[in-house]
């Protein structure tokens, strides 16, 4: 009798072990550089929130790695009243992870919360202020009433603050609880969260888009790049999310038999912007000359290892407002010298370049820029600042040198998000320039709902800023993912929001 029990125990144990190894086959570990601290969609603007949360929540619209806007929780929508009202038809038979049904009330609750008191304590609200209120028409139809039409609104509904949250759950448990125990309608549900350490997700089989292939996903927060790469190479991490991997580590990842770098153009662009008010850069010809003095393709090839594209205006190729016909200034040191002479700049004139001190790659870029400027007779000194000091004190107060580093990019991939903030008079990031023509164009594009018309205008803005040489556009950067060879069907997302529904692993 005793023997049978032991045998039985052995059998169950083996079965249990088989079961664990089977579930292990469908699990994935991802390294993310930062814990956003709260999983509530209205609390944060961190891209590392979105890379996890895109698997937990759904929006009314959805935008995947191809950047096409497709139906999400809304199956269709139509613009009424000259774009002042949008009617959404909602998907039926959708449930939240806690079993609560998704319906028009959930949509209304989400936006009342975002635009109301709870939302005003966080950074997300400001992005949705075009919305006046949401009205429930019937269980699966809602109307969004807008103060003014917002051409980017449908894109904004595909991410961040517009993620639909469960009313019953939040009312029952409160906002604080929701921060650490989020519930959405997404393909994965959160099962465990240890602040500053890791977060575990499990497949939500009832997802309206079909059950994910993976059983579970663990995100580990690892901020040090070399540590994340070591975890990848030792096989304990399957995907390293951007922005983690520095250019210098690409070769070591690709040379390892288990891993490779997968890259995709990201919305992030870099420029050296000019002080257009004082110093030699107040002269448009000098600014143009300085741009022509730099071989930017050489910088992309040698310092970025080819992981970037030279830009003509302050946006990448995927940006709405990008114009493929707009050529960057050519690399032409002779013409640059002629322009400098015309502007009366003596050889030996000096400029200061302000950079973020902790950005090693850009430090190299700045040095190469300085060397090229030397080639046309301009002495450039590089002034590194602590990033936050540069962003919070130096730039907004207009205390920069003649040139300063600006790294920019928004997940909406809309040039408005860059152009308005960089060029409109009085904006925080525009301490020096004031141009009535630009202001007018920037204001009017915000109320145009016709896509083509608006695109033409944004392209014109780009052309105008290029001609005035308001900045030295450098390059757009690729997003670099470190991926283990066991990962299948992985598609790198330009905006870091990797939805894992189709991803699988092989043993």
């Amino acid at each position: 009798m005793k023997k049978t029990t032991t045998l039985f125990k052995v059998c169950t144990l083996t079965a249990a072990m088989l079961a664990t190894s089977a579930s292990y086959a469908g699990s994935l570990t991802i390294a993310s550089p930062q814990d956003p601290g709260s999983w509530d969609p209205i609390d944060t603007f961190l891209v590392n929130w979105a890379s996890v949360a895109t698997n937990i929540f759904d929006g009314l619209t959805y935008r995947g790695p191809d950047l096409e806007l497709v139906p999400g929780l809304a199956t269709s929508w139509e613009e009424l009243d000259d774009g002042k009202r949008i009617r959404f038809s909602l998907r039926e038979d959708v449930v939240f992870h806690n079993g609560e049904p998704f319906n028009a009330d959930a949509v209304k609750f989400t936006f009342d919360r975002l635009l109301g008191e709870e939302g005003s304590r966080g950074p997300q609200r400001s992005n949705y202020t075009a919305i006046s209120h949401v009205e429930v028409i019937d269980d699966y139809t809602v109307d969004f009433f807008l103060y003014n039409s917002d051409p980017v609104l449908l894109t904004k509904l595909a991410g961040y603050g517009a993620m639909i949250v469960p009313p019953g759950y939040i009312e029952e448990h409160g906002d604080d609880y929701f921060n650490t125990h989020p519930v959405g309608t997404g393909p994965f549900k959160m099962v465990d969260y240890t602040p500053r350490s890791d977060v575990k997700l499990e497949a939500f089989a009832d997802h309206w888009g079909g059950a994910p292939k993976l059983d579970s996903v663990t995100y580990r927060f690892i901020s040090e790049p070399s540590t994340a790469v070591a975890e990848l190479q030792s096989g304990r991490v399957d995907i390293v999310l951007p922005p983690t991997i520095p250019i210098g580590m690409i070769d070591s990842i690709n040379n390892h038999p288990n891993s490779q770098v997968v890259s995709v153009p990201s919305p992030t662009v870099e420029a050296l912007r000019f002080n257009t008010q004082s110093g030699i850069t107040a002269d448009e010809r000098v600014r143009q000359a300085m741009i022509m003095a730099i071989d930017r393709q050489a910088i992309v090839d040698s310092i970025l290892g080819g992981e970037g594209q030279v830009i003509a205006s302050f946006q990448g190729t995927q940006s709405f407002g990008f114009d493929s016909e707009l050529e960057p200034y050519p690399y032409d040191p002779q013409r640059a010298q002629a322009l400098l002479k015309e502007a009366g700049v003596e050889p030996g004139a000096s400029v200061q370049i302000d950079v973020r001190g902790n950005d090693a790659t850009f430090g190299e870029v700045a040095q190469v820029v300085a060397a090229y400027l030397q080639g046309v007779g301009i002495n450039a000194s590089i002034q590194p600042y602590e990033t936050n000091v540069l962003l919070n004190d130096i730039i907004p107060a207009g205390r920069t040198g003649e040139m300063f580093q600006q790294k920019w990019g928004g997940w909406t991939f809309d040039f408005d998000n860059t152009a308005y903030l960089m060029y409109h008079s009085g904006e925080r990031w525009n301490p020096y320039d004031s141009d009535a023509t630009l202001d007018e164009m920037l204001n009017s594009q915000r109320s145009i709902t016709n896509r083509e018309e608006r695109e033409t205008l944004l392209q014109f803005v780009a052309r105008y800023t290029k001609e005035r040489a308001l900045e030295m556009p450098l390059y757009s950067l690729n997003a670099l993912y470190g991926v283990s060879n066991r990962v299948q069907n992985f598609e790198p997302a330009p905006d870091n929001r990797v939805r894992l529904t189709d991803v699988d692993v092989s043993e």
């Binding site: 956003p36 400001s126 240890t194 602040p195 500053r196 350490s197 540590t227 975890e231 936050n388 909406t412």
Partner: protein, 307 residues
């Protein structure tokens, strides 16, 4: 004695207030957390920022914020992280044991290695084992700990795949970070043990012990080591405080879920409450160690009490 104790505690409290005041003030000079939170928010306005600041309690004058913080300390509430509102006590409660465990493990490695090596060096003074040990300890001292950490990871995690490169998941996770800290401590400690041992070996009671005909090991381990242990224990104890400071870099490389990582991330995110909390706990620990040492001296030595 009561008066001495009273003044020492008062002094310790003063140091604590001074440290937290300086830290709270200094971090507020380094940037606005509201802007950090709103980074990437396209159309954020000054009014939006003001609302966020209000929600974080940053719209009040510095002294009011600081008094709030002190009031919280007394009631055991260190506030909430700006990053998601997790309670600071909870974060520290999770990180502190991890840091302490790592510090103890490092100290343990260093003691276990440095005592036999130090004694060996002292006994064979001037001969080749002594020279070897001294050269090795010099090499150990010259390693920057982040470099050593990365080399260990390359060797043991990537090349041989024996140890986990980061995290805290079991005893294996302790080996590399504790060894990194331990090797550098050992380098100093070996020299310390050697010098102390040499001094002790010159004293008269050792000569007496030898004259009695005791075996060499009995003289060394029973008499000499015991007498050495008083200065050594004092030194190791004080080292513990310094260890907590030096652990930040090692924690970061090994992604150790301790106070160092917490503080590092808090600085990067301008998370004032978390940083204030970590600094307060660390300084409280160091101040308490010093206070205990002082009070212990006071008990032992009447001269200290009176002055």
């Amino acid at each position: 004695m009561a008066k001495f104790l009273f003044y020492r505690v008062l002094q310790a409290l003063f140091v604590l207030v001074a440290v937290t005041l300086i830290v709270s003030f200094a971090i507020r000079l380094t940037g606005d957390p509201a802007i950090m939170l709103a980074q990437g928010a396209g159309s954020i306005t000054e009014a939006d920022l003001e609302r966020i600041r209000e929600a974080l309690g940053l719209n009040q004058p510095f002294l009011v914020q600081y008094l709030e913080f002190l009031k919280g300390l007394v009631t055991g509430d260190m506030g909430r992280s700006f990053m998601g509102g997790t309670s600071v006590s909870e974060l520290i409660g999770r990180a502190l044991p991890a840091t302490l465990a790592l510090a103890f493990a490092s100290l343990l490695i260093s003691i276990v290695v440095s005592i036999p090596l130090g004694i060996k060096a002292a006994v064979s003074r001037g001969k080749w084992p002594d020279q070897m040990i001294r050269i090795l300890s010099l090499v150990g001292l010259s390693f920057p700990n982040f470099w050593l950490a990365i080399m260990l990871v390359l060797l043991f995690s990537i090349t041989f795949n024996l140890l986990p490169p980061s995290g805290m998941e079991g005893w294996q996770s302790f080996i590399m970070p504790a060894a990194t800290m331990g090797i550098i401590l050992t380098a100093t400690n070996v020299r310390l043990v050697r010098t102390t041992m040499l001094e002790t070996l010159r004293s008269q009671y050792i000569m007496v012990a030898r004259a009695k005909g005791l075996s060499n090991s009995a003289v060394l381990y029973k008499h000499a080591l015991r007498n050495c242990s008083i200065p050594l224990i004092t030194y190791f104890g004080l080292q513990f405080g310094g260890l907590l400071g030096g652990i930040v870099v090692v924690e970061r490389v090994f992604n150790w879920p301790g106070l160092g990582t917490l503080a590092f991330d808090a600085v990067a995110a301008r998370d004032y409450p978390v940083l204030q909390g970590v600094i307060t706990v660390l300084s409280l620990m160091i101040i308490s160690i010093n206070l205990l040492v002082d009070v212990a001296y006071g008990f032992v030595d009447p001269r200290v009490r009176k002055s």
